[in-house]
Symmetry: C2
Subunit: 352 residues, 2 copies
């Protein structure tokens, strides 16, 4: 079993370190770790945010454990050298088309949510975001127009792309409460019309899943008004970017939420994927031991489950996290004073 570890920028390295302590404690047989540079640090060391050797390392692995990218010192670079390009490059080069973002409150931590407690308690949803298409990866550029310089981006989805992500979403719904909401803007966009027609076609193969459709503006409204109505949401790259962040904000505890980006390639043990906390590089608190490593540790749990087929270990980690969250050890983001390392240590203790 090979894991490529890409800690990246800002708080990425410090939270990844705690995840690696947890991994170490599991003492998995025949595990090899490789570590590579990605993001701003990679640009500074190798002149590119996603160096060829990092990409090769990721390709050769069964899974990628990713920290975070983003560095204010790189903000003025041309777009292709900026840290965020590394994550877009990994997604497209590795064919990571399915982004899974669970958003659920942690028992006892509902008060972290900006929503009223009765609404917060009901949140238990999964956003399945398409990650290889849409306006993200279409042709784009600048052209002249009667109104001066014009920026343009081609948005599109074809049936094969929609089918692939819709299958992932239907299957995810089958393992949950069997409700799937497909989000689009089919009253305006042709891209969405194909999206909706294709999802509807596929629904026949999943008679046990209840499917409905929602326009993205209404979905943004409903996520605030009554988030408890959602089980699995499937949507395109752009709408998924917005709605998954909104859903996380509704839960409230950004430092606690993990994500998986899965590809088509299967490994010996599961599906190839990249795993990352949803919080970013948080440069303002980097290197101060203030970051919460829970999201990184839960990303590791997702890695073990989806890419290495080690469900039992994943469950063990999740239970240890839950136990430590309900104990007294809390980081600054949860109103406590525990450091990154102390939180990691507490989770380690609960693991044993």
């Amino acid at each position: 079993m090979k894991i490529a570890v890409l800690p990246g920028d800002g708080i990425g390295p410090e939270v990844t370190r705690e995840a690696l302590k947890v991994l170490d404690a599991l003492a998995l047989p025949q595990l090899t770790l490789f570590e590579g540079d990605v993001g701003g640090i990679a640009y500074k060391r190798h002149g590119h945010p996603l160096p060829a050797e990092t990409l090769e390392m990721a390709r050769a692995a069964d899974a990628v454990l990713f920290g975070a990218v983003g560095d204010p010192e790189c903000d003025t670079l041309p777009r292709e050298y900026r840290p965020e390009q590394a994550i877009l490059g990994l997604r497209s080069e590795l064919g990571l088309f399915a982004n899974l973002r669970p958003a659920a409150g942690f028992p006892g931590l509902e008060d972290l949510s900006p929503l009223k407690p009765e609404l917060a308690r009901g949140i238990d949803l999964l956003v399945v975001r398409e990650l290889n298409g849409d306006v993200y990866f279409g042709d784009k550029g600048e052209r002249d127009s009667a109104g001066g310089r014009e920026g343009w981006d081609d948005m599109s989805y074809n049936e094969a792309e929609v089918r692939r992500i819709a299958h992932s979403a239907f299957r995810a719904a089958q393992k949950r409460r069997k409700k799937l909401t497909s989000v689009d803007k089919a009253n305006v966009l042709e891209t969405s019309r194909i999206w909706r027609e294709t999802v509807i076609e596929l629904a026949g193969e999943y008679p046990d899943v209840e499917l409905d459709h929602m326009y993205v503006d209404n979905a943004a409204m409903q996520l605030v008004r009554s988030p408890g109505q959602f089980d699995v949401i499937v949507t395109g790259n752009l709408f998924g970017d917005i709605l998954s962040d909104q859903a996380s904000a509704c839960v409230g505890s950004i430092g606690l939420l993990a994500s998986a980006s899965l590809g088509e390639r299967t490994t010996e043990f599961g599906t190839f994927g990249l795993y990352e906390p949803i919080h970013g590089s948080a440069p303002d608190i980097a290197g101060q031991g203030k970051a919460n490593p829970v999201a990184a540790i839960l990303s590791l749990a997702m890695l073990l489950r989806h890419s290495l087929g080690r469900d039992a270990d994943a469950n063990r980690i999740e239970r240890a996290v839950a136990a430590s969250l309900s104990s007294e050890i809390r980081g600054a983001d949860l109103g406590g004073s525990a450091s990154t390392q102390e939180i990691g240590d507490a989770i380690l203790r609960h693991l044993q």
Copy 2:
């Protein structure tokens, strides 16, 4: 002064009726009203959701008072005949490029918000959404691809389009708390890069306004986490569709929120515009006297202020609405039992 009244579908006619009662009570001199069909009702009567005579009537007026469009019986029609096309057609034909959507809690009604009261109390923002460009009005269609049928939409903004809406937003900010947040996705989209560069260029002309920039995913997060940080938000058509609905949901009282869509043309008294409640046609409660007419009445107030230059009358209406909201007369949406007409009558009493 000429007002084109387009009540439309569902609850549109019944809430518009209450707004007209209020207008009548103001006894404005030299006012002429014209009434036209729009939406599903127009399709049924004239074969088109936006008949030529309705468009002419709107063009000849100083302002349009709009109810709502949307009719489930029209859901299976080809897209160009669906009721929503009427509103898109009016926006483009009348050059209504600036959509103003104020979102603020009503004193005493903070408990309507799904957010915690301390967050809800802080909401007082204005979304300025561009309404004539973006992926809404670009070329679009279906093409063949290796992955089967492909839907595509061209997203774009040029400098002239951005400048026009940015000026509106800067000016709106000058009249409020002088803070402007421009929302885009400049880390991914060329459309957004031109958007951001153009907004930055213009900022020099408004040294009294504090400008910042936010990616749309972060904006969706911040609108839930701490909506009180926003004063004016300016953004494109697609992001504005999502964020303005999200902002309204944060306030909670959809039946109370109004909107203005302004064009470039000035009238003798102000700016030509179309005014509508943000709630839709709500076919499930249509014709039952359950709809809240407050949003329609507040839309009328916006009409008087922006298109007819009658600030004093607009303020009078807004005060009457506030007074009636804090009295005992409440509709079903606010936990009361007053009918559409009773709420309208109560506001009328407070007006006198």
